[in-house]
């Protein structure tokens, strides 16, 4: 059925996809190459020294502060996400189904909080933390990250919950279910994709952060992005260690995102379709 012109276009489309895939994968493949290159041949094109490989970077990374920082990153970003879900899901539910006034203003306010430039708010936060004794603590950083994740979770759960027919909730209310029961037993199971999407996208907001961690933590509580910057040191940038750290930092998240891909699309679909 496909005539020659369509076939030609189709081939062109495939070529475009291959080029784009190369763009997406180039930095990944390059990081893998850098990871295994010994220092002395880093600056030699790979085809001129195809056999120069080394595992030195693994030792260097293991000896550095990076492993501890990676755990800190997981704890603080994960903690901030869990906290945001616990607090934000009921709020999103109430905003979607509570028939409350001022929802437009609220949605704007939530977005505004996402706008807050970290460079501006980090100093007041620093001064507050100094007095609350929260500097250099994982708890403090978790709460700082929550300021990133919570508005987002509320906003996106609000969108998700709006898709659920109100009749379902009313029917349950007539049956005598309390609001928390309705949320837990009826609404949440129906919004699973939304929860997964909000959790993952929220987690990434915190996971991505560099600035809060730079200013609010030090030493044993620093996170992975800060630890990576420590490989940029005097007289040398440890490219191999940086590449390896990037891979180590990315690996645990990739399967989660791949798995959740479908849910994210589903839930974003809700957001754009209405």
């Amino acid at each position: 059925m496909i005539d020659r012109r369509t076939g030609y276009r189709f081939a062109l489309g495939r070529l475009m996809m291959i080029v784009l895939l190369c763009f997406a994968l180039l930095p990944v493949l390059w990081s893998i190459v850098l990871t295994f290159r010994p220092k002395i041949s880093l600056f030699t094109p790979i085809w001129e020294a195809p056999l120069a490989w080394s595992l030195d970077n693994f030792g260097a990374l293991a000896r550095s502060d990076f492993p501890a920082a990676l755990i800190n990153s997981l704890i603080t970003a994960g903690g901030a996400t869990i906290l945001a879900l616990i607090v934000g899901i009921p709020a999103g539910f109430a905003l979607a189904k509570g028939g409350l006034r001022g929802t437009f203003q609220t949605s704007w306010a939530l977005l505004l909080l996402r706008m807050a430039p970290p460079i501006g708010i980090v100093l007041p936060l620093f001064l507050t933390y100094l007095n609350l004794g929260l500097l250099n603590t994982r708890v403090g950083l978790t709460f700082a990250y929550m300021s990133l994740t919570l508005p987002f979770v509320v906003w996106s759960m609000w969108t998700s919950f709006s898709q659920i027919p109100s009749e379902l909730i009313e029917a349950a209310a007539i049956d005598g279910a309390t609001l928390p029961q309705i949320l837990w037993k009826i609404v949440l199971p129906l919004s699973r994709p939304g929860v997964v999407a909000a959790a993952i996208l929220g987690f990434l907001l915190a996971w991505n952060d560099f600035f809060f961690a730079l200013i609010l933590t030090r030493g044993q509580t620093a996170t992975a992005p800060v630890a990576i910057m420590n490989f940029v040191s005097y007289a040398s940038v440890e490219w191999g260690a940086i590449a390896l750290a990037t891979i180590v930092l990315t690996l645990p998240i990739v399967p989660v995102i791949m798995f959740a891909n479908r849910y994210i699309v589903q839930s974003l679909g809700g957001a754009v379709k209405g």
Binding site: T6, M17, V87, G88, P90, L100, W108, L150, S166, F210
Partner: protein, 309 residues
Amino acid sequence: MQHHATATGLGPATSLSGTATLRRQKQREYLRFIYPTIFLVGLFSFLPLVGMLALSLTDYHLINGWGGTWGLQNFARLVLDARFLNSIYVMLALSIGGVAVQLLVGTAIAVGLDQIVPRWKIARGFFTIPFAVPHVAVALVWLSLFTPTLSPINAALDAVGLPQPTWFSSQTGAISAIVIADTWANFPFVMLLILAALQGVPRDLKEAAAIDGASQLRTFFVITLPLLKPALLLVTLFRFIETLKHFPLIYVMTKGGPGRSTQATNYYAYVQSFENSNVSYGAAISVTLFIFAGFASFWVARINSRINS
């Protein structure tokens, strides 16, 4: 909207005033769900914002301390500051350029995955990998790709005798480099959102068009693209607002150079606050940026509420 349904759901026996009371009671119950959020957001997001505003109205300096004057002097200084005006230009160039490229790449991939190569299931996964890489790492990896002495791209071009690009020697080059890295880090978001919107495009509409003899390309432009409009609008504004906050890419890749040609506003706020110790002046820059972003987010909220209603 919803509470009308609630009222009818309770049956005809309920009087009108009773409905109102019940509604209020219900609202109070719902409000309790929001209090913890208000408390936490107030403490960790709102209060620091107030602090930022307070700093911008005074004269706190990291080294000289606090002089004790209050007023709008920092904002008055901003208006005359050539570096600030330059930073706005850089910010807009980065944002507009970045968003345009991301939108193009993200949409192309989404449409491609949906319509050209729907069976490349693994490719879809590969395309989401950049999403998982923290921006500092993104910046470092791309820095290595843009460093002429290290980059395999330059080495390959050199090997075949082509001129090598030197990204960080001109404003255009440096801005392009940041846009490329930013695109790599963020096209997955655009892609996912457009994929989501594509699912909402009814198949039979496209099939009908195909039967009518419309070419694939025509079908895309006439039928699919208009249906993607709300999604494209939303993602544009979202990404635009995010790009206004550019920091790690500039901090790691160019440090604002060459010269000052990539000092975007948010980075300039950092330079003033942390390198020059003018915390209050830096805060004034942040406040200005925040107000600007506030206007932008107003539109997002408007559009979003229109889509959701």
